[in-house]
Amino acid sequence: MKQNNWVNVFFLIPVLFAFTMIIVIPFLFGLYYSMTDWNGVRMVVNFVGLRNFANLFSAPDFLYSFLITIAFTLINVILVNIVSFALSLIVTSNVKFRNFYRAGFFVPYLIGGIVLGYIWQFILNNIFLSVGDTLAIEFLQTSFLSRSESVIWAMSAVNTWQYAGYVMLIYVAAIQSIPASLMEAANVDGAPYLTRIFHILIPMMANAFTISLFLTLTNSFKQFDMNFTLTNGGPATRFMDVPVKASQLLAMNIFNTATANRMAEAQAKAVVLFVALVVVALVQVSINKKKEVEM
């Protein structure tokens, strides 16, 4: 066993090296810079302690971004997983062309958030409006992206469209790894379809839910690219009596702070995002782990 361990370590070295160089060290630097007044260029860096953190939670724009990110994450964790689970049931059933559907549902994930954001911006801002104008449907005559109460739902729909196919693959793999004999036995015993799903399928693939929930949770929490191209943070809305950007998620708030040359402040926000994400992800994983069944 001992020798085995050394072999393991040996094979891990390249990965550990890369991980240390591009993740761990920059991360520690980031922690340090969040407590300085660095502007990104200057060579003189002054240590200012926790000053950058002090005002964060009284700043309406940051607070709003934090809350809207939590809302966005909740919506997406639920929406993406329901849709992708439903899709995985469809493509593992006996429906015709199921391999074609599998590929088709996965394609949006391959397009990537930037392009996809622009595509959906065009659809929501132009095509929906044209349809609304032509058919005189008042509901469609203002873009969903320019209404502060609907923008988060529009973003969630696009996000679901992007990620559902990807998460579906995880569910498909899990469903296929369940011994067919279990389902057949239940079928012979006369268990109806829904009972089979809720009492056999779902408990048997609990580990897939752990992974999928973790992925959707972290992806929604740090969503940036689609946010940037689809809404760019707009429209404005009022929060704590201050105009803020209605769809500016945390990552984008950090980005906008950084591009305004407030590097240290942006880094402090990033540290807050990191801590929040670790806490939420750990809670989620530990809850899900309890539900898993060992084969």
């Binding site: 761990v24 991360f27 810079y33 707009g234 404005a236 990033a270 995002l273 670790v278 992800a281």
Partner: protein, 427 residues
């Protein structure tokens, strides 16, 4: 327990992949093939081809020096790109700053250009403590651009547009005869956060409040704002003008549109006015505009205002720490003083040079209108560069967006702006 620790480490590790941000300082000398390579990093996408061509021409004519130009701008993050270059030790020899904010960040790298020959030929060099630190890229400017054909058809004389009430009447006339004139709305204005158009509203339009109707170098209004004070009477007049622009704007462009939609609406003759500067000339040419265009002033008071807003939008600066600093300075000097350089600025890039000795005329109609205004005098200064970084984008931007959504709510807009200005000293 051990399993819990492992899963903790794994989760933390996965999550950490979001973050990166480090610093490293190294330096490199840029020579290749015996030639000194002067690297230039610039942000005006619209002049990329012309500048590349001029750099090639200059390199061919100057033995021992090759100028290589890299462009990142438009929607691109120029500041981020420059920062990445400085971190990786590839700081360019010539780069661009857009005002005091940029100067403060990069001042360790910026060379004093006071002794260059072009300094006496311009009023718009970037001055710090009496020293010239930046080469003015061009004169840019704006007013409210109009489509002369539509105004003529509606019986409006643009020369009369010197007060807010004149604008109100003109907008009403246009609005009433929309179908007949074939327009969607009187004005192509953009103010949306989603379209990234905060700079049209929260920067260029707001500049009217900072400098409109005052002497060219009168910064009293913005100085007061930087101390947290708003001139209530003046701002109310200005806010009413914004309200007018928003109410008579094409609503889809105003609330969702980006630059292309805004300029496109005007270029296709679907609006009579466009709130943009002379940098749209190449876009208008591309879009095949054949109607006559000109500039009317942003007259936001009922006391007549006739001036346009003129400024140097950015400056080239020379990297003081580069071994090629002298070659870089020579390149800029050649651009300002040789006929090839002047031809590049005017004919190639279609810019209005900030140098008095240049006599060439730009071909763009709006640029010509600006040059005429510059010769006439009585124009207004543009001072948004004095604001703290991020004020336009993150503070004023959402306020204008919200006002655009509900332009009847004038008092709320004024109250929001008053609060924002009161917060400026803390930024």
């Amino acid at each position: 327990m051990k399993r819990a620790i492992i899963s903790f480490v794994l989760v933390v590790g996965l999550v950490m992949t979001v973050f990166a941000g480090g610093s490293q300082q190294s330096s490199s000398s840029t020579t290749a093939g015996g030639d000194k390579v002067v690297t230039m990093y610039q942000l005006k996408v619209e002049i990329k081809d012309a500048l590349d061509a001029y750099a090639a021409e200059y390199s061919a004519a100057t033995p021992g020096v090759t100028v290589s130009v890299e462009t990142l701008g438009g929607g691109g993050d120029y500041g981020g790109g420059l920062r990445a270059k400085s971190q990786s030790g590839q700081m360019p020899d010539i780069f661009q700053i857009e005002g005091m904010g940029g100067y403060e960040i990069w001042k360790d790298y910026i060379a004093d250009l006071s002794n260059e020959t072009w300094v006496a030929d311009t009023d718009l060099g970037f001055m710090v403590d009496g020293k010239v630190m930046g080469f003015p890229v061009a004169i840019e400017g704006y007013g409210l651009a109009y489509n002369a054909d539509i105004l003529a058809a509606a019986g409006i004389d643009p020369a009369t547009l010197t007060t807010r009430s004149a604008y109100e009447q003109a907008f009403q006339t246009l609005e009433a005869r929309k179908a007949e004139l074939g327009i969607d709305a009187p004005v192509a204005m953009a103010a949306s956060v989603s379209g990234g158009m905060w700079w049209v509203a929260g920067q260029h339009n707001l500049a009217a409040y900072w400098g409109g109707g005052l002497d060219f170098d009168d910064t009293s209004v913005i100085e007061a704002a930087l101390a947290g004070q708003m001139d209530d009477a003046r701002f109310r007049e200005y806010a009413q003008y914004v309200q007018l622009l928003f109410k008579y704007a094409d609503q889809n462009v105003l609330l969702n549109g980006g630059y292309d939609q805004q300029v496109g609406a005007f270029a296709q003759g679907r609006t009579a006015f466009l709130h943009q500067g002379n940098w749209v000339d190449p876009n208008l040419a591309q879009l095949g505009v054949d109607f006559k265009v000109g500039y009317a002033p942003h007259a936001f008071t009922n006391t007549p205002q006739t001036g346009l807003y003129l400024f140097a939008p950015s400056w080239y600066v020379v990297n003081a720490q580069s071994p090629n600093a002298q070659a870089a300075k020579d390149f800029l000097t050649a651009m300002a003083t040789t006929s090839a350089g002047q031809r590049f600025m005017v004919e190639g890039a279609g810019m209005i040079p900030a140098f008095k000795s240049v006599t060439l005329q730009p071909s763009g109609q709006l640029s010509q209108a600006l040059m005429a205004a510059n010769a006439r005098g009585g124009n207004y200064g543009v001072f948004f560069g004095m604001l703290p970084d991020g004020a336009g984008q993150n503070v004023f931007g959402p306020i204008y967006d919200l006002f655009a959504q509900d332009p009847d709510n004038l008092d709320q807009f004024i109250a929001d702006m008053k609060a924002a200005i009161a917060g400026l000293p803390r930024m």
